[in-house]
């Protein structure tokens, strides 16, 4: 394997570069996945039937906490990648752990939010609006859940094998995934919550 030392570790072989490009293409498909969910949401958001509307069930404080948690976790994993490029394994693992903790905090608040929705009578079966709302939020939440498991295994591998071109590449790709989830959340925050409460 040809290792190019002028590039960061995660890009250092041709296979590594191709894997990163491949993951960007996967993210392109993910953009479309969420675009179709947003399309359905915007089409159905006023069809509330006998159920509550967005303005009636959305609460600003948990949503704001979730936003800050995810935004911070996205920043922290960026610091993790920076530490990885400096070859500082310990700092990288600390940053990645903080990222996962913040992600778990986000998930906790989202679960609280879902329980709140069910309590106020906004379930998957209530109306077209609640169905697409919970589907969209749930798809994002599932991505975060998957990310937590993925990130945990990345951490275990880094601990066991250290920083190699292979583990650095995996960590970088995971960071791309995590930042992407933050981008999707920005759109959920703006165009589902804030728009709904405006």
């Amino acid at each position: 394997m040809k290792v190019d030392n002028s590039l960061p570790l995660e890009y250092s072989t041709e296979e590594n570069s191709l894997k990163i490009l491949g993951f960007w293409i996967f993210l392109g498909a993910e953009i479309m996945l969420f675009a179709t969910l947003f399309t359905a949401y915007f089409t159905l958001e006023n069809r509330i039937g006998n159920g509550p509307s967005g303005a009636e069930i959305f609460e600003i404080s948990p949503v704001l906490v979730e936003t800050i948690l995810l935004l911070t976790s996205s920043f922290v994993i960026g610091l993790g990648i920076h530490a990885m490029r400096l070859g500082n394994k310990k700092a990288m693992m600390i940053f990645f752990s903080i990222t996962l903790l913040l992600g778990a905090g986000f998930l906790g608040f989202e679960i609280y939010e879902f329980i709140h929705y069910v309590h106020v009578g906004a379930t998957l079966q209530t109306s077209a609006f609640t169905a697409i709302l919970l589907t969209t939020l749930g798809t994002h939440g599932l991505h975060v859940t998957f990310g937590l498991v993925w990130g945990l295994f990345i951490l275990i591998q880094i601990k066991k094998r250290g920083l190699t071109p292979e583990t650095a590449n995996k960590s970088f790709i995971f960071s791309l995934y995590w930042h992407f989830l933050d981008i999707i959340w920005i759109f959920i925050f703006s165009f589902i919550y804030l728009k709904g409460m405006m």
Binding site: L7, Y11, S17, I20, L21, W24, I25, L27, G28, A29, I31, M32, F34, A35, T36, F38, T39, F42, T43, I60, L64, T67, I68, L71, T72, S74, F75, I77, G78, L79, I81, H82, A83, L86, N88, A91, S175, L176, H179, F180, D182, I183, I186, F187, F189, S190, F191, L194, K195, M197, M198
Partner: protein, 93 residues
Amino acid sequence: MKELFPLKQVMGFVFSLVLTAVALIAYFTDMSFSLGMTILLLTAFIQAGLQIVVFMHAGETNDKKSIYTNIYYGVLIALITIFGTLLVMVWDM
């Protein structure tokens, strides 16, 4: 310790917090729907761009062109799908 917090990324984080605060103006003040939506569209897309450029290092390697083409294409199709559907199903045009 200081080398672990590169200025570019710290500034990126501060800027994204500022953008979130600006987006909140649309909620906390009484403004027209179209003005609020304009603010939200601006803050959301600037923030997405910030993540991609500063945190995801999209433009740092020889794959820069392919990566940006891929993102632009994805976003273009996403916007056509969303606004095309709004046009037909919601705005009744």
